[in-house]
Symmetry: D4
């Protein structure tokens, strides 16, 4: 029950069209829509415009196509992440207009195309980190942000990073994706005064422990302004980057 | 050597006032000021207006007073974190105008007072988490953000959190501080579409492993938009929150 | 040798039908049936009515069918857990009346149907947690409890949970199944004054470490009354929930 | 706003004493008392009769005395856990009637004495585990359960445990406290068909890792019906045991 | 009730001196002494001749003196381990004949002196490992084994170890104590065909993790015949070594 | 160069048949046979009679057959462990007399049959632990020990263990194999005064961490006399048990 | 822009051939070649003569052949590591002169053959460690070092190691590769006064944790002069060994 | 027995001055001096000129003074590390010429002063890392290397590092000391083609786990040529750096 509905209900009580007992029961048994909390919850969907993301692993191609179709009809836009090759093929056949991103397995289906706003920059250390970087990029874009990618600028060859100084300065928020020792967010965070979202990846072996090494490194970054998401969580980084980027315009 | 300096140098080469050999040597031996990188680095200090933070642990009261004094004379503002009781007492004696925060051990010394802008909200789960929350709060404020605190709104009594729906909606970025199981950032992140910075604390015992339990929980949050900093790192959360909050105004 | 048997034996000693030496040897070499311990052990089987559960992994379909058949003949009821697709198919062919639960791989074979008593409520956070929740549900039911399931009520959308307030209040014990950050048991434990059994699942990736993240979170829950079982251990949770639920009736 | 209040408000709307606009605003801005959730939350306090427990560590004797006094005046009963020797002494001086438990540091202050109901049994493996066992015992008792202790029945001398078969059979729920390898809950769980709450303790050294060894052992118990709480968490075990024990009586 | 007692009881039943009912009750309520299990348990004490060891940590000097005195009166021999300096001083004053071992904090009190049999050899890598080695040595001796110590024969100077080839060959079981990387048991195990009991110590720092490094090394030893005890567990190693050594003589 | 060879060489120097220079060079360049160390090393092979064990994983069937054949020709006895199904089939075809143990993948090839001496007892907790128990059993037997197996005597049904009291008493050393919580070695170690070698297995899931849970439990056993080997290391346990068992006879 | 280029540019400014504005723009927009940093970076390539190494995993045979071809044309030498069997076959077909190392999967393609200088010695403990040892060997050789291998000299049979004393003495740097308990580097480091680079391998099981055991052991080595690389990182060890070995000649 | 001694002995056998039996006994019972191994061992002391280093922790001031004095008399040079303030004071009083390094607690006592050769460069990230850097510096110097320090060049302000390009190029081996995320070795390793020895420090908190974070980062460095030592092990790094540096001159 939205505020307007409550108002209508109370007016009918006033008019005698509805008894207090019936009105009380309805107020008490309705879901929480009427509360601040519900308002928040409702607003969240309205503003983000993106009520649900499909997490690919564990879904059959058939299930995937069904879910994507249903969400697309309801919301006009769907993002599915980490879709397998079979799943991507099935989505492509079912929805020829779907954007399919091969590296990350991200799939986007939407009406029209969003003109991104603001500026999210995704930076990644090695080519092996590209799937995670792409997931962040696609997520930020589908949510409505303008987002660019700079790839292969590892700390062992810093001149490649410095050549992109202009882009680093122009970003409102920077997502830095890195495996191995995960040192890149500290270097980037030392160069700019923007929020940096660090994404450790599982690229590495041995004492890398599936991404634990860069995760710990990023949590201990000597550069202030760095926050961290889970290993390989390009989606989470892109989502948070969009929220930060979107927050800049007056609301 | 800034671009203007380089321009002047080259003009003097043109005029014959400086030989090519001398000019080449100077260009080659100067520090990096001329580069985009250096520009970035320089801008960083200018914009953040906050070149260095004093980390209290391991410093004697005398060292602390000396460092705080030197930074204050140079920059007009100093933040020292995690200062011991002895250190706080020494700073207070040396700089009677210093703001001393007893819970967190944060000490601020500045000229004039900053009128905070934007809105950072710091939320914490239990009273034992207050020192970390206060560190985030003080950091965001000293950097120039308006920042408020909501304390003691743990997940085992959610009505206390819901009573603050208005403040949650009004924030541009929310810092959520929690020990024990670290569930609060997920709940807050599910209520609002703002960036949430989660700070695990070492409040707990046994299988808490000094903050590992809430750290892992926060990294695995089911709510999108949550990023994480190191255990007890109120400073880092406040710093990142300020960058996000400050980024909203046109720059 | 049960107490009655011992009594009979001693009477025959009294009557001279059995010599002391023979009686002593028999008492000393019989299994432990005569002791309190044995009594406990024996009672356990009688009351639980459920002497053995078949753990599916590592058993071939043939082995599985053989074991299920033997236990069914002896006890009239069998529960097998985590049976593979092949195993389930083999059991179905061999015992057409078997109940086969596809999500969890649980298989039940019994004579008649149990009228469940009391009320066990199983709550799970995400659809990916359903296999574990189903295992808990089936286990509690086959042991004789009435058990219901509420699915997909994660902490990032709490209104879905609150809509089930009535069921939460009506339960005698609540099993809460959650992966990712494992925050749901704390929220549920904060709402009701019932015993909550928390089951972490391996649903997650990266710094989830196969269920370690929610396991630690649940062990550190800020809500009193929460106890924890092993990762994905739906069976253990259902079993403990049944014992708690069954204990309510006078015995 | 409770249901009765809502009913009254609506009647006044009906009578025209309150306008729909004013009523709507009040309904929308009141705290959540009206909801099922709030009902649950309220009921929780009423039934448990125990709104808050004081966690001793980090509190000065003065703070402790103040908090205990305030809670006692409001609720008539207070439990404080892990109170230091100084804190216990201060409480004793301030409240001569306080029950002070030296081993566990638990302090109870209440009006009258509770006649415990049901039967909680606390079993502990070694004398070094007694502080944790006592915390569980005191917690269960102060909440209203009848609770008994069996101490020093480790697995390396099982006859001592078996001598207590009668008590084991008579319990409605058993709390088993053990350090070192944490094997006792499995043995107890194999003897009885009661819910067993296992509490690992930090008693051990080296590869014990502060309680990790028995914690993992208990989570992997081969005996069904065993659930686990955090290391040294006697309070949590006593609380859960009380909920299980109390649930037996018809409600 | 021992077999002889049972025999006597049954004979009295036969004579009519005891009724079957009374006899049955006694058999059923006696402790387990009559069983194989009890026999084992009883024999254990008789053979090991060493019913209890006093673990020093957490005991006050007064408690220690009391316990040592009581055990000495009952058994004629007591071993207390890891006794603090204060405790050792108190024991020395109370029992002037006590053997006090300063490095390990082991204290022995016994009547007469045992002539050790067999040959246990304790080898340790560095001088810092001596407290643990001494604990093993004292334990093996007080249990009745002849035991010798070779100290400071680390793997970085193998000639010192090789100089003791004769002793290595003459031992029936070898306890090898080592911190740091814990390599010594593998080297010793490669030289002799005797059982080797490896004891990791907490001597080290950083990535040593309090003994985890040598513990893992010893568990992964490439030399067959090496078994391992807990970090710093000289007592456990000495005890096991004695059992192995004692087992050699015909029993 | 053995002592006899050295003696002969020196006599030839004495006789002038060999010059001091030539003799010195030979002494200095020969392998270490002459030293105590070498003596030890040599003796080891002679006494153990078992110079090398073939570790199956990573070897092709062809490699396996070749290695087994070569070792058999040289030593007359070979043990290969953890051989895959393909490898076992290949060995069986190549050496029809080979003993192939299906559960553990152990393969033995030898001339004649060894009459085992002494008594090694292998006890295992669950049927899933049988492969590891079998590996221990086969290893001890092939080395020359008499060895027996007691299976499926878990701690949750202790009467099954107690029924084997006679065998437990008759053993000279007991290998206890257990997964899950790894409690069995403590129980066995509490019943007998024999050396107990505990073998954790990887049987378990979730917070079992591939055998870490029982490994830690066993290292922290409250029963003295328990030593531990690596997870699933049946071979190592069997080898150590043989050394302990063999050491009993006068040498 | 190299120093010579800068010199030329400045001379043209002097001559009036280039305006200061144009020169300034060029200096400011060129890559970093002009800086000390760039000089370092450039020198690095020139001296090491080895600008890039191809990491095989994750690359298809086609991608591999393309990358190898491109790098070979540019640099005249390529090293690819951990190439799969399919990749090796593809490279062999495309470049018949390629050296393909089957154990390690290392592939080298170069013009002419390098006459190695200095002396790198690679020592490995077991045959299962050979792939990692070979990777180190091939890497050191392709970079220009003379490198030799000693295989199968584990610590459980030290005479095999001692037989190679001459080679150990002749090396300028020694790479020691070991799995299991990783004790070999300590033994080697105790014998020679050369830098030792220790490489833990993942050869082991159970509490080996994929190489963690030897990694920790090597980091805690009691022999000074031992440094460590990541688990299985033969390439890194070979690379560092070459840098150490190459540094001996006057530069 | 050195080769010359053996030669003399054999000549006496030849001359009949010594019987073959006596000579054989002497050769067989002498320590290992005669072997390559012993030669190596002996050479090691001679070349390194530094037979033993005193590890301060756990030694009383008296013990320390005694050990330092004994080693100084025997060798003319002593290095003691991590000496406490009391120990340093005691050494200073006993040996007024001792060099005492306050930050690291390193103490050096030697005759004359060594003219360092080659060039070891020690670089450290933050001022808090200075104690470890100083330990490395002092160690390398006392062993005979020329060694310099560059302090406070963290990755968050790279221009400070780049200002030292000249020194970086001039070094033969670089020790890089860093806490927090441990990124500096990767950056340095990317700039130069020298061996880099990375030393993680325990400077950090929370998810730093006492140095684990930078240790893992350094082991996973993307820059080839980086090897790693234990947390805070400045001594080990300085020792290895000296061996690398010293190896450059012809030997």
């Amino acid at each position: 029950m939205r505020p307007a509905d409550l108002d209508g209900l109370l007016r009918r009580v006033r008019r005698g069209d509805v008894s207090p007992v019936v009105a009380a029961r309805r107020i008490l048994t309705e879901p929480l829509e009427r509360l601040e909390f519900a308002t928040l919850d409702h607003e969240r969907s309205l503003r983000a415009g993106f009520p649900e993301v499909v997490f690919g692993p564990g879904k059959t191609p058939q299930q995937l196509v069904a879910i994507v179709g249903r969400l697309f009809r309801r919301n006009g836009v769907v993002l599915a992440t980490r879709v397998t090759a079979e799943g991507r093929e099935a989505v492509r056949r079912a929805f020829p207009r779907a954007e399919v991103h091969e590296r990350s397995g991200a799939v986007v289906l939407r009406r029209g195309s969003s003109r991104g706003r603001g500026r999210v920059l995704v930076v990644c250390a090695g080519t092996a980190d590209l799937p995670v970087a792409e997931e962040a990029l696609v997520t930020a874009r589908v949510l409505g942000s303008r987002a660019e990618l700079i790839a292969d600028v590892g700390v062992a060859g810093l001149h490649r990073l410095f050549a992109h100084a202009r882009e680093l300065r122009g970003a409102r928020v920077i997502v830095v994706v890195a495996g191995l020792e995960g040192a890149l967010p500290s270097v980037v965070g030392g160069l700019v005064d923007r929020p940096v979202i660090a994404v450790p990846t599982s690229v590495g072996y041995g004492a890398h422990f599936g991404g634990l090494a860069p995760l710990l490194a990023m949590l201990n970054s000597c550069a202030a302004g760095v926050t961290v998401v889970n290993v390989n969580n390009g989606f989470g980084a892109g989502y948070a980057a969009h929220l930060i980027n979107a927050g800049r315009r007056g609301d």
